[in-house]
Structure formats: C-alpha cells, structure tokens
C-alpha cells in the first residue's frame, strides 16, 4: 500500500514536472510583446527639392495587366479612347491639348495632367479630390470614357485572354477592384528618374550649367520652391491660384467654369475657391500647355504668369529665361530613354 502510494505520488510529480518543462519550452516559443520603437525617420533637410526616389515595388504580373488595360480603347463607351489617348507616354504623359477629347467627342473640363511620377503625389487630380489612384480612376471612367466600372468589368470578363491573365494574377479574377488595382500598379511604375537635376542633387555639380544653377537659385530666392518642393517638385500641397492677383480676372473671357473652382467642388468651403493641388514640375518642359485651363502655351509664359499672380513679381526676360533653363533640367528618363 505504502509502496503503491509512493509510486503514484512519484508518478504525479513526474507528470507535473514534465508538463511544466513542456509548457516552458512552448512558452519560450512565444515572443514577448515587442517593445514599441519610438524612433522617427530623419528626412533629408538640406534642399527644398529632392532627388526622385525609386518608385514602389509592384507585382509585375499585375502591372502588366494594368498596361494592357491602359492601352485598351475598347473599354470606353464608343471604343475610341484609351488612357493612352490623353496620356501618351512618348509625350511625357500628356496629349499637348488644352482640353483632351474624350469618348463621344466630349472635351475634358480641365487640362490633362501628366501620368508620370504619381506615386510621389499627396493626392490626385487638379483639385486633389482623390486620396488614392484607385479612387481617382472614377473621374476619367465617368467623364472621359463616358462609361461605368460595371461596363468595364463586363468587357474584361468577356475577354477570355484577359480573364485568364487576371485569374492568374488575382485570386478573385477580373472584378472592379482588381481592374482598378492593376491600373494603379501599372501607373506606379511610370516614374521618370535620371534627370540632370537629379544628378546635380546627387552630387554631380557639372550636371547643370552655370545658368541652370543660377536659375535654380533664383527659383528658390523667389519662393517658387515654397510650393514646388520635394521630390515631385510640387504635388505635395494645396494652393490658391491667384494669391497676389486675380488670375481669372486677368485672363479675361468668360467667368470661371465650375470645374475651375478647384477644391471648393470637394469641400464646399468658400475659402477653397480656386484652390488646386500644386502641380508637379517634373518633366514640365514636355507638358505644355500649362495651368488647369491649358491657357499658357509656353513655359516662359507660364513662369511669367505664375510670378505675377502668385508672387506679385514682374520678372525680367533674363530671370524668366534662367528659371525656364533650370526647369528644363527636370526632364527625366522613362525606362532608360530620355522623355
């Protein structure tokens, strides 16, 4: 009896010890809660303009699908317009028109901005109404393609080749969400690094001529870089068009169209009238005509008007020439070739 009881006790003790040991081994596998890292990343502090960084890493299969959709005119209501129509890549992502021609012959209300370097923008379209590229596509689909996402989804689903490719790239196959995603991933690949100005910022002082360097200095001295700053040389904030003078009154002609009210159309706030997203100046020498209304046919004219209405400055022809010279150095390369 005594012997049996001892045996049971030692058995129970062994079980308990083994359990605890086993539990300890298991518990060791569990990480303790991570200590929150409070450090902040330090940014480059020296220059208001920054070199263009590499774009985001995207899934090549998805980006390829986006590229196919980008060039597909059959997605528009009358099969006449694709994204490439208004954003030809060999023309720096703009069509050179003051107002692009959409499906059914409808003109866009505002000038078409470039499709390049959008990953570096803080918001999208002229009024900055869209926070993501996926959301931004709603505007051209509705206004330029004169169609709906449902229609586009049906067309893609009806295309066996595209459907198969979508099924391979996305578990859900072609849906509105995946179609938008593919387009967004493709557009994220459209960046233009390798400008002479980037080389200059990266330490190659000879990448710019003396006059181009003077143009950059003047660009900063005049305060242009207060708004046109960062890697995208703009596209980072909102600003009223006509800070020092009434641009629309000086432009003359009919009163501003409703689309020209800018951010007001999104917020309804009277102080947001004529407030626009500051455009990026990357590749600006290749994206004429300028402004939201495409009213400035040359870079010289755009610089002169900007200085007058935004800064209250009347620039001399020499000053304009220096700034334009600097702006030309912002033209980058696309997939290894100059834009």
């Amino acid at each position: 009896m005594f012997h049996g009881s001892t045996h049971r006790r030692s058995f129970a003790a062994r079980c308990a010890a083994l359990s605890i040991a086993f539990a300890n081994i298991l518990a060791c596998g569990l990480e303790t809660p991570p200590d929150p890292l409070r450090a902040t990343e330090r940014a480059e502090l020296d220059e208001p303009l920054q070199p263009l960084p590499a774009g985001p890493t995207v899934d090549p299969a998805r980006a390829k699908l986006g590229e196919i959709l980008f060039a597909d005119a059959s997605l528009s209501s009358d099969g006449t317009v694709s994204c490439l129509t208004c954003h030809p890549l060999d023309r720096a992502g703009t069509d050179g028109l003051a107002h692009s021609r959409g499906a059914r012959g409808k003109d866009t209300a505002l000038n078409t901005p470039s499709i390049f370097n959008l990953p570096f923008a803080f918001r999208y379209n002229w009024s900055g109404a869209y926070l993501t590229l996926e959301d931004e596509f709603d505007a051209p689909v509705q206004k330029t393609f004169s169609t709906t996402w449902r229609e586009i989804e049906k067309k893609v689903q009806a295309n066996p080749e595209l459907s198969r490719a979508f099924a391979a790239a996305y578990p859900d196959g072609p849906t509105i969400r995946t179609i938008k995603d593919a387009l967004a991933r493709y557009i994220e690949t459209l960046t233009t690094p390798g400008s002479r100005f980037d080389a200059f910022l990266n330490g190659d002082a000879d990448a710019l001529s003396r006059d181009e360097r003077r143009g950059y200095a003047l660009f900063k001295e005049l305060g242009c870089s207060s708004c046109h700053q960062g890697a995208a040389v703009g596209a980072g904030s909102f600003q009223r068009f006509g800070v020092m003078r009434d641009y629309f009154a000086e432009r003359g002609g009919p009163p501003p169209a409703s689309a020209e009210l800018g951010r007001f159309n999104t917020t309804g706030n009277p102080s947001d009238r004529f407030v626009f997203r500051v455009p990026s100046l990357r590749n600006v020498a290749r994206t004429a005509p300028y402004f939201h209304d495409g009213s400035a046919p040359t870079l010289e004219q755009a610089v002169t008007t900007m200085a007058r209405v935004q800064l209250g400055e009347h620039l001399s022809p020499d000053q304009v020439s220096l700034i334009v010279g600097f702006l030309r150095t912002l033209t980058g390369t696309f997939r290894g070739s100059p834009l």
Partner: protein, 280 residues
C-alpha cells in the same frame, strides 16, 4: 478491447481534441492582438514622425513636405487596415477605431492647412522686404509710415500677438486708403507690399496655432489609449495561450501514461499465467 478501455480511450481522444481546439483558438486570438498592436505601433510611429516634421518645417530646418506626404499616406493606410482588423461584432472597438479615423482625418486637414499657410508665409516673408524697398524709393511724403510698417512687421514676425496684429492691420488699411502713387511701378510695388503684409498678418499666428493643434491632436492620445488597451489584451491572450499549451502538454503526458497503462493491462489480461503473479 474491453468497454472500459474503449471509454477511456474515447475520453482521452476527446480531451486531446478539446485541448488542441482551445490552443488553436487562443493562438489565433493572440496573433490577431499582435497584428492589431503592430499596426497601432506603426500608426504611432507615423504620427510621431508627422509631428516631428511639422515642427522641423515650422523651424525652417526642413524645407520640403515629403516626410509629411509620406507619413500622412502611412497613417491613411494604417487606419484602413486598423478598421479592417476590428473584431467582428465588437461594436465598442469599431466605434473606437471610427473615432480614431475621424481624428486622423481632422489631423490631415490641419496638416494641409499648415502646408498651404506655411508656403504663403514663406513667400510673403521673402518678398515683403524687397517690395517695401521698392516702395520706399518712390515714397516721398509717407516715408515715416512705411518705415513704421516695415519695423512693425519685422518685430511681429518674431513676436506676434493679437493686439499687434490689429495695430499693424490698421496701418496697412491706412496705407491702402492713401492715394495710389502715380508711377505704375510704385503703384504695383505698393499693391504687392500690402498684399504680402496682409498675408503675413493673416498667417503668422495661425501657422503657430496649426502647428500646436497638430501636435496636440487627439489622434495621438487615441492611438496611445488603443495601444495600451491592446497591450493589455495581448498580455491576457498570451496568458491564455500559455495556459492552453500547458494544459495540452499535461493532457498529452497524461494520455501517454494512460495509454501505456491501458496497453499494459490489455496485455496482462490477454496472458493467463501472469494474473496470480500480479495478485501476489
């Protein structure tokens, strides 16, 4: 196999299945809490970095908005993910995350206003002295008033106050009401100068208020509160997982021992000659 043995075996299997299910469930809970906490920490980091960039911009040591743009995007993304990771049916959690998202949206509006105002303040601070010098060249009889405005604005830029704002605004209006210079260059310079003066008056104090509001945004405190809450929930989940794994380990050992005992008994009952020996 005797019925008693079968029942024992069934009980052991059921207990093990139950133990495994409990361990799986509690592990999933722990993983979820870890993920929520990781995202909250990412939010906290982006929020802190955003505040830091605002202060650096205000101080003039940072000259571009890229860190703000980056961190606002991170905050937006993290807030969306946070919303998705709310427990199904946990209304309080959804409501809390909803409040956090609303706070972050408000903070983004403040950041946008800050960027816009800061750009304009910089432009006007750059241009006011230059155009004031042009005006001074043409300004004969009102040189004292102009000099007073230049001095006031220079002092105001360093130490702004509401009373000071009102005084300078009155000076600006008085200059505006005076007859315009005949010379078009002088008239244009005066127009620009007064525009820049108004810009500075309107924005100098507001920019500090905006920077302060951004720093004191409730988003920051809400993230911290959620982080504390989820740290606590993660610790609790960790205790439950440890307990579940300990119980499972104990069950495994007991099951192994019970099975070996059963097998021994089965073998003993199947060998007739050995029973008396055991009894002895």
């Amino acid at each position: 196999m005797s019925p008693r043995t079968a029942v024992t075996l069934l009980a052991v299997i059921l207990a093990l299945v139950g133990g495994v299910a409990l361990e799986r469930h509690s592990s999933a809970r722990l993983d979820h809490e870890r993920e929520v906490l990781r995202r909250l920490q990412e939010l906290y980091r982006a929020d802190t970095a955003l505040d830091m960039s605002v202060l650096e911009l205000r101080a003039g040591v940072l000259k571009h908005f890229d860190p703000l743009v980056h961190n606002v995007k991170v905050l937006r993304r993290a807030a969306v993910l946070q919303r998705r990771s709310a427990d199904d049916g946990a209304d309080w959690q959804e409501a809390e995350i909803g409040r956090l998202v609303a706070d972050l949206n408000s903070k983004e509006q403040l950041v946008e206003a800050f960027k816009t105002d800061l750009s304009l303040l910089r432009i006007s601070s750059l241009h006011f002295p230059t155009v004031a010098a042009v005006v001074a060249r043409y300004n004969g009889e009102n040189a004292t008033g102009l000099e007073a405005l230049r001095t006031s604005l220079a002092r105001y830029s360093v130490a702004p106050s509401k009373e000071f704002t009102e005084t300078i605004a009155r000076d600006v209006e008085r200059m505006q009401a005076a007859a315009a210079p005949v010379d078009p260059v002088a008239a244009e310079a005066r127009r620009s100068m007064l525009g820049h003066a108004r810009n500075i008056l309107e924005r100098r104090m507001r920019i500090d208020d905006l920077a302060r509001d951004i720093r004191q945004s409730s988003a920051h405190f809400r993230i911290l509160a959620l982080e504390d809450l989820h740290s606590h929930r993660q610790s609790r989940a960790l205790v439950v997982v440890t307990a579940a794994r300990t119980a499972l380990a104990a069950l495994c050992i007991l099951a192994a021992v019970a099975l070996s005992e059963l097998l021994k008994r089965e073998r003993t009952s199947a060998t007739p000659g050995t029973l008396p020996a055991i009894r002895r």
